[in-house]
Structure formats: structure tokens, C-alpha cells
Amino acid sequence: MSGIAAYGVHLPIHRLPLAVLAGKNKEGGPERTVAWADEDSVTMAVEAARKALVGRDRDGIGLLVFATTTHAFAEKQGAALIAAALGLPAQVRTADVGHSLRGGAQALGAAFDAVDAGHVREALVIVSDCRMGAPGSDLERSGGDGAAAFLVTAEAPLATFIGSAQESQELVDIWRRAGDRFTHGWEERFTTSYGYLEPAVAAARSLTDRFADLDPAGWTWAASAPNARALGTFAGKMKLGEGRVRPGLYDRIGFAGAAQAPLLLAGALDEAQPGDRIAMLVHGDGAEALLFEVKSAAPAAALQPALDRRMPVRTLASYRRARDLDLSEYPAVDDQGISATIHFRERAENLRLQGQRCACGEPQFPKGRVCIRCGAKDDFTDEDFAERSGQIVTYTLDAFFPAPDPPTPVAVVQVDNGPRIYMQLADIAASEVDIDLKVRFAFRRIHQAGRRPNYFWKAVPERSLS
């Protein structure tokens, strides 16, 4: 039987206090995660997957399913891009799941099916979302951004997938029309009653009925809900006792869309003991519930460190700039953007931070034909540097570079046992940047030339990836 062999979580480091969102200059209180200008569903997915795959060989992954309601492209796959950034084998099956908050469960279901059928040995499932609520809307306040990744294998060591239950529901409660930037919602009491509670309770009951012999009263529920009150109502209707429902983290993350229940599942796995059973419930165009049996305690917590890694957003203006909510004198130009042919030739460098090493031992990035050390021509072996660490050789804080949140920290980074790479820094306060600072690398949106997301790696402080 298939199950979860490993998992990882990524939350954007930026936290927007709801007081700041309301225009108050106040610290503390409830806050939500905010994907910054250089993050999107793809970058968060890559980071969550890298955490799930730490120390693991990636060559056995035969299927990658990426679930989100916030695809960076309406036409162009996210999973293939993520597979390239992760350096998965070119033969990997890739699929995107979209359109519904329920996508995470569908992605996991597809992975369990493929592994159980023996089609693939290992499957990677990533659920990532950064939905935008219109400025001033309830959705802007209640939303959150984040990603969770799960490695699915047969006879998985952490948790076994027992079974699932579905309930499909057609209604117009929450939607984004093709071309819309912001999510719309119908009146909240209607959407909670019929978009959430009715299908959620139906799916949950179908799961408890189906596995009535597995002591449903003792299960822990990692349940999505549009808000804390709705989650409480669900618990009440299901008569779930004290501690049986994982806290929704609405005042720390917000409602993270399709990633909400997967993030809570990761939190449940963090604290689970062998023999525990965890039910994950997702909603959206119906509901779906999945049951897991824990086989062993997780080697390390995933959710808590991500929650602890935080940088509060100090001003409403910086949030608005980061999310591109203000009109600009020079908006991004809708032109051809970066050269697709150049990007095609350089995709390993751009997406995997791949350089090369000369037979003489000299590492080099970007790739070249002639060695800067020994002068030999074409005597190189490819080498990926994304998972290395490094340190800052020198830096500047560029206030003139067009960025939503200047100054832009830029550094020459010495990769440990690797080349020097000139790159921007992220997730760091200007005052923290210094020579010799230890860094690691994070996959980010580097710019939007041609109004397309263009991706490269940035250096982030090592402590922020602990």
C-alpha cells in the first residue's frame, strides 16, 4: 500500500499583520503569510519540494503532480517547470491540477493510484497557492500563501494511505473568471453553508462510515475551512472532541487556498505517533476526505520551523508594491520579453543553477567553453549548485534598481567548493547583509520581462532555511 515517505512545507517569510493591512502602524496580532514580489505558486512549490526531498536521490521520481488554483500561466505547465528546477529525470510524468481548492486531494489521489498500480515507484505531489483577494476585500484579509509537498511511495515509512471519500457539488460560491486577477465570492453565509459545510460533512461522514472499524472517534482531522468559525462548525457537526481538529492557523497563515489542508496535514504528521490516524479534509466544488495511518514519527518537524521563520511587513505601502497593487508610471511592457531561445539554451543554468567543473578542478558559472583557470577547452562536467551553501564575498544595496521594495541587496556569492555567482539576495533585511554571511539558494521570480514570470535563484541567509 502506498503512502507518504517524506514531506516539506514552505511559507513565505513575509507576514502581513492584519492591523498593517487595515492601515494601522501597529505590531503583533493576527497576521497572514504573503508571497513577496519574487514568489508565486511555482517558487513556493519548488521550495516545499526541496525540503521534502532533502538528502534524497531524485532519480526514482516517476510522477510529479502540481496542484494550485494560481498557476503562473494559463497555458504552459507548472509541473514541467518545477521538475526542471528540481532536476527530476526527463522521463518523469508531469501533470497540473487546477481550478479547485480541492486540487491537493486530487493530486494526492492520483499519486496513490499510480504508485498502487505499480506505474511509478515514487511520486511527488506539491500543493501551492497564492490567491489574491481584491484590495479591501474579506478575501484579502483572510487569505494566506503557502505550499506543502509530499513524496508518495509504496510501503512508505511515515504514513499509509487507507482510503478516501468524495462529494461533488456544483455551485457558484467562490470563483475567478478566466483573466481575472482577484477571487470573487458570493455572500459568506451561503458559501459557508453550501460551498463548505454541506459537502465537507457529507464527505467526512462517508469516510467515517466507510472506515467505521478503524475507530473514527480517535482520528485527528486536518481540515480545510474558509475561516476559523466555519472550522468550528464543522467540528461541531462531526461531534469531534477536544484536540481532534488541528488548529486552522488562520491568525498566522490565513486560509492558504488549496494548500490549507495539506499544510495542516504536514503539521499533524509533525506531531503524530505510530498508530495514529489522520483524516485530511479539503473543500471546493464539493469535498474530499483522505485517511492515513501513521507508521512512524516524522524525523523532523516541517510546519513549525516554517511558521517560526518570519519577517513582519511594516507598511501597507510595501505590501501593495510587492503585490503590484498600485498603478505605476512605468508598468511592465507587454512585449516579447526575454529571448525564449536564449532561455532554452540556458535553462539548466537558470532553473537548476547548473554550472560546470573543469577537469583541472575549477568550477564555473555560468557555463563556458574555455576554463578561466587552466585555459583548457571543452573539458567540463556539469554540476548543480542549487543545494550548496555559500558565503557573501561582497555586496551592495542598490536603491536605483527598479524593485518593489528597494534597496535590492546584490552580492557576489562564493559557493562552497564551487564558483562565484553574482545574484540578488532575498528574505533579508538590508542591515543583515554583510561580507562572509552564510547563504543558501532559493528559487525565485527574478523579473517579469515581457510580463511573464522569469525564474532564477537568489541567495537567502542560511538561518532562514533551517
Binding site: E346, A399, T408, I446
Partner: protein
């Protein structure tokens, strides 16, 4: 092979460097070149000029800009080497003359960046990994390591800005004629740490030209030709990827200086050079150049800035006309403008900013990331 004493400058001209809203490239080219013609006593350019070398960074139509502005239809070579373009243009002219291909050539550098509608250099992102910072950000990369190693700081950079602002007030064709204080420099808005606004050169429009001729013909133009003692160019690895760079220097300047001194027969630059125009695109670039050019030992800039070594009254005046900082920086013109200033200094014609008795003058351009440097040394004998 050496170019020493094989070519001479017999004419020099320079347009007003400014935000020339009412002039186009043609106006500035004509202004600079006709001044150089007059300076050389050239009245029949179509007979007396054999070829043209032009340098421009921003022009898309460099060769045609020049030939059509001057209605001078001659062999025309367009030269480009980032911010070293100006000196490189004159170098190409000198090599052609030294090789005996031409007798007399015109070298003109110009740029017209102020028609773009925005301040500062262009920041375009076409490749995914295109430079993730502005030029200020590239040149600032030496700051943190240098400050750490030698204890210098923003206040020393500010003194360079104050000096060049002062010198600029004495040059009739300079852009900024405004004295500033160290406090003003330190308090200006940040561009890219540690550079504030006053640490950055003023980008302007402008053109500059020199007439270069064979040594044996020089006195047929003027009795006081200025001799090219050395004119060299050198490149270095991109400091962003150079595995060995210490960010305490720019290697291209060190290499080019060694070549230039060898060609000119200079072994004690601080004593033998009387006046210098250095590439102060940013104040730190000037500071590093004092050392990279061997004027003073590595790390000694701080004390020399404090003691005024490089001021007009100091032992080795630098950027006597205000430099890129205040004379202005129309990129392709800057190196040529420096040679125009050195020609004036060596003839004793630099007015209020004249360095007394100057007989040897150096000029220096560095550009790219930075990756390329070109140096000229001119002399009176």
C-alpha cells in the same frame, strides 16, 4: 611595439557637456569637431583629414551620425568598449597613424543619453540572468571589502566628490558648477550603498574631438603639438565571476597601467606624472584608481585624500576639469574629453584650473563590470 612619439595631437575640441535639450548629436559633434579643426588650423577638412574614428555607447547610428553631421565622407571606423570607448577611439586613431595607413585622422567621441526621458543609465532586462543591479551596483561591489581592509569610509568618497565639484566650477564647459560640502554629499539620497547621489557621475550629453597626425607632420599644424607617449587598453576577467578577485582593486586598471608606463618609459608615476584625469564614474572608482595606477600604495588613498594630494593645489591634481562627476559623462565622449583637458593643461591653456608647469599628463577610462581599461599618457616633448 610601442606607439611612443609616433603620433601627436594637434587639435582639440569639446562641446558644452550638459543636458543639451536643445541640441542633438549632430550639433554637439559639429561644435566639438569644428573647434578641433580651428585648433589645428584645419580649414579644408576634406583634404586634410584622411579618416575618422568615432566612439559612442548609446548611438544606434554612430558612423552615419558623424559622417552626415560633418559631411565628411572618409574611411570611418566605429569603436566601442563600454566606458573606455573614448580613449579606445583615440587609440585606434593613433595606431592607424603609427602604422602609416593615414597621415591625419579625426577621433570623435560623443553620446546623447538625455533623449531617453529618464535619469541614470538604462536598466533593461532581456536575459533571465541579465545584470541584477545598476552600474552603481557593479562599481559599489569593491566598497565593503575595501572599507574593511583599509578603514576608509563614505567620508573619504565624499571628499572626492567635493574636490571634483570644486574643479568643475573652474571649467567653462562643465555641466555642474556647484560647490558642495562633505555633509551634503553624505546626506544625499542613496543610489547603491555606499554611493549616494553625489558619489555618482552626472550623465550628460556631449562630444569631444582630437586631431591626430604623424609625428613628422605635427609641426605643420601647430608649433606646440602634444605627443602621445603611450595609449593602451587592457581587459580583465569579469569581477562577478572571477574566482580570485579580492575587490580591493580593478585589475584592468593595474594591467593597463603597467603597459602604459612601459610604453612611456615611466617608472615613478607619482613623480613623473603632473596631472591626471581619472574615470570617476563613482567616487570609489577614482579612489581605487589612485592605487591601481600606482600613484600611491594600495590602501594609502585614505591618508592622501585627507592631506589633499589630488586637489588642484596638491602634488598630483586629479580631474582638474571636474571629471565625469561634474564635467559630465556622455560615455563615448568622456575619454576624448580627458585628452582635450590634458592637451589644454600641457599647453598651459587650462585657465583657472591650470596645473603649473605640467609636462606629462595621464588619462584613464574604465568600463564594463568593470572589465576594460584604456589609458593615455601625453607629453610636451
Amino acid at each position: 611595439m610601442s606607439l611612443k612619439d609616433k603620433a601627436a595631437i594637434v587639435g582639440a575640441g569639446c562641446s558644452k557637456f550638459a543636458e543639451n535639450w536643445t541640441s542633438d548629436a549632430q550639433d554637439m559633434i559639429v561644435e566639438a569637431v569644428y573647434e578641433a579643426y580651428a585648433d589645428a588650423g584645419i580649414d579644408e577638412p576634406n583634404r586634410q583629414i584622411d579618416a575618422i574614428y568615432c566612439g559612442s555607447l548609446y548611438s544606434l547610428a554612430g558612423p552615419v551620425d558623424v559622417s552626415e553631421a560633418l559631411k565628411l565622407y572618409k574611411p570611418l571606423t566605429s569603436v566601442y568598449n563600454y566606458c573606455a570607448t573614448g580613449t579606445e577611439t583615440v587609440r585606434a586613431a593613433c595606431m592607424a597613424v603609427a602604422a602609416g595607413v593615414y597621415d591625419t585622422v579625426l577621433a570623435v567621441g560623443y553620446d546623447k543619453p538625455k533623449d531617453r526621458g529618464v535619469s541614470g543609465p538604462p536598466v533593461t532586462m532581456r536575459g533571465v540572468r541579465d545584470l541584477p543591479a545598476t552600474p552603481a551596483g557593479w562599481f559599489a561591489l569593491a566598497a565593503a571589502p575595501y572599507f574593511k581592509a583599509f578603514g576608509a569610509g563614505r567620508e573619504h568618497l565624499a571628499q572626492i566628490a567635493v574636490k571634483n565639484h570644486h574643479n568643475g566650477t573652474l571649467a567653462p564647459k562643465s555641466f555642474l558648477k556647484k560647490e558642495i560640502t562633505v555633509e551634503e554629499a553624505l546626506g544625499a539620497r542613496m543610489i547603491s550603498w555606499p554611493f549616494g547621489l553625489y558619489d555618482c557621475a552626472a550623465q550628460t550629453d556631449g562630444a569631444a574631438a582630437v586631431i591626430v597626425t604623424r609625428a613628422d607632420l605635427a609641426r605643420t599644424f601647430r608649433p606646440d603639438p602634444i605627443w602621445v607617449k603611450a595609449i593602451v587598453s587592457h581587459c580583465s576577467p569579469n569581477p562577478h565571476t572571477d574566482p580570485d578577485h579580492d575587490f580591493l582593486r580593478w585589475k584592468a586598471t593595474e594591467s593597463a597601467a603597467a603597459d602604459a608606463y612601459r610604453m612611456a618609459g615611466i617608472d615613478d608615476p607619482f613623480r613623473q606624472i603632473d596631472v591626471a584625469q581619472l574615470h570617476d564614474c563613482f567616487t570609489l572608482t577614482e579612489l581605487l584608481s589612485y592605487e591601481d595606477l600606482g600613484f600611491i600604495p594600495k590602501g594609502a588613498a585614505k591618508e592622501h585624500i585627507e592631506s589633499g594630494t589630488f586637489t588642484l593645489a596638491g602634488e598630483l591634481p586629479v580631474n582638474t576639469d571636474g571629471g565625469l562627476k561634474t564635467f559630465g559623462h556622455p560615455t563615448g565622449a568622456s575619454g576624448v574629453r580627458m585628452m582635450v583637458e590634458n592637451t589644454l593643461q600641457l599647453r598651459g591653456g587650462a585657465g583657472a584650473r591650470q596645473v603649473k608647469g605640467a609636462t606629462t599628463a595621464l588619462s584613464h577610462n574604465i568600463g564594463g563590470y568593470p572589465t576594460g581599461c584604456a589609458i593615455s599618457i601625453l607629453g610636451v616633448e
